[in-house]
């Protein structure tokens, strides 16, 4: 399901776990995990964590700004689609030249976000790789997940 977009972003939208994205490599344990109520009031905490990690990993100022926006976009999408009273869990892993971010929340729909949406175009423009999919949770529920990779320095564009 993975493809390379016009701007070089590796993108995946799938109803199953994608088979060729970074998420499939044996994942190192996350450096930082943040759990919030899936509500817009907590978006800024997740952006603050993203900015702090990217700054310390010596990201360029543009890359810090892009990561904040990408993390905000993925979490906003998860919050819009989350079931009531859900938690949103974010995991950040700082790798050599990039930060890997993944986030998930229980959702009511089995359909992942459309790749025709403005939000998806923004995500692909901001990141070096992005994927999203829905996996079955416990007792018949569904979990929507985003996975993205942002490099320390890069040239991106829509």
């Amino acid at each position: 399901m993975a493809e390379v977009d016009v701007d070089g972003t590796e993108v995946t939208v799938s109803e199953h776990e994608p088979s060729t994205t970074t998420s499939e490599k044996p994942a190192p344990a996350a450096d930082v995990e943040v759990r919030i109520a899936a509500a817009p009031a907590h978006l800024s905490v997740v952006r603050a964590v993203a900015a702090d990690l990217a700054m310390r990993a010596d990201f360029t100022l543009d890359a810090i700004s892009d990561l904040k926006m990408a993390v905000d976009e993925a979490c906003s999408e998860l919050i819009s689609r989350a079931v009531a009273d859900a938690d949103l869990v974010c995991r950040f892993t700082v790798e050599d030249e990039q930060i890997h971010f993944s986030a998930e929340a229980p959702t009511g729909s089995a359909v992942p976000p459309s790749r025709e949406s403005f939000g998806w175009r923004v995500l692909t423009a901001l990141t070096d790789a992005v994927s999203t999919w829905v996996v079955p949770g416990g007792d018949g529920s569904q979990v929507l997940r985003f996975d993205l990779v942002k490099k320390r320095a890069d040239v991106v564009g829509l």
């Binding site: 919030i36 817009p40 800024s44 952006r47 926006m69 829509l158």
Partner: protein
């Protein structure tokens, strides 16, 4: 996890330096939480001016919910024959506009004085 009701991290100040000109000065973070209040203020102000200056110099984060408000306001401005001018200073505003190509669609100025003083 519970949801807390903290102060909204956005401020919008409205000012009328000359007749027909409204300047809305936004500061703080414009995201999914705060974009609705920005939308409400701009929808009110656009009804009663010739030039709407949206000063985003004090905006520290502009997410796609905020960009959507800019796009909607620009459509509404065209419909009402109001001139929309953005003040976009600093990376946290300029970068999202560039990434989405909106900097080529919207009219931007580096400072508030440039925007207010531009020929109509």
């Amino acid at each position: 996890m519970t949801e807390n009701s903290s102060a909204l991290p956005i401020d919008v100040l409205v000012d009328r330096p000359t007749p027909g000109v409204v300047v809305a000065t936004v500061s703080g973070e414009v995201d999914m939480l705060t974009a609705p209040s920005l939308r409400t203020v701009l929808a009110d102000e656009i009804a009663d001016c010739r030039v709407l200056v949206l000063d985003l110099a004090g905006v520290s984060f502009l997410g796609s919910a905020g960009l959507a408000v800019l796009v909607e306001t620009s459509h509404e401005a065209r419909r009402r024959q109001v001139e929309l001018r953005l003040v976009a200073a600093g990376r946290s505003v300029r970068r999202p506009l560039e990434i989405t190509g909106l900097d080529e669609v919207l009219t931007t100025f580096p400072t508030r004085d440039d925007a207010v003083g531009a020929p109509g």
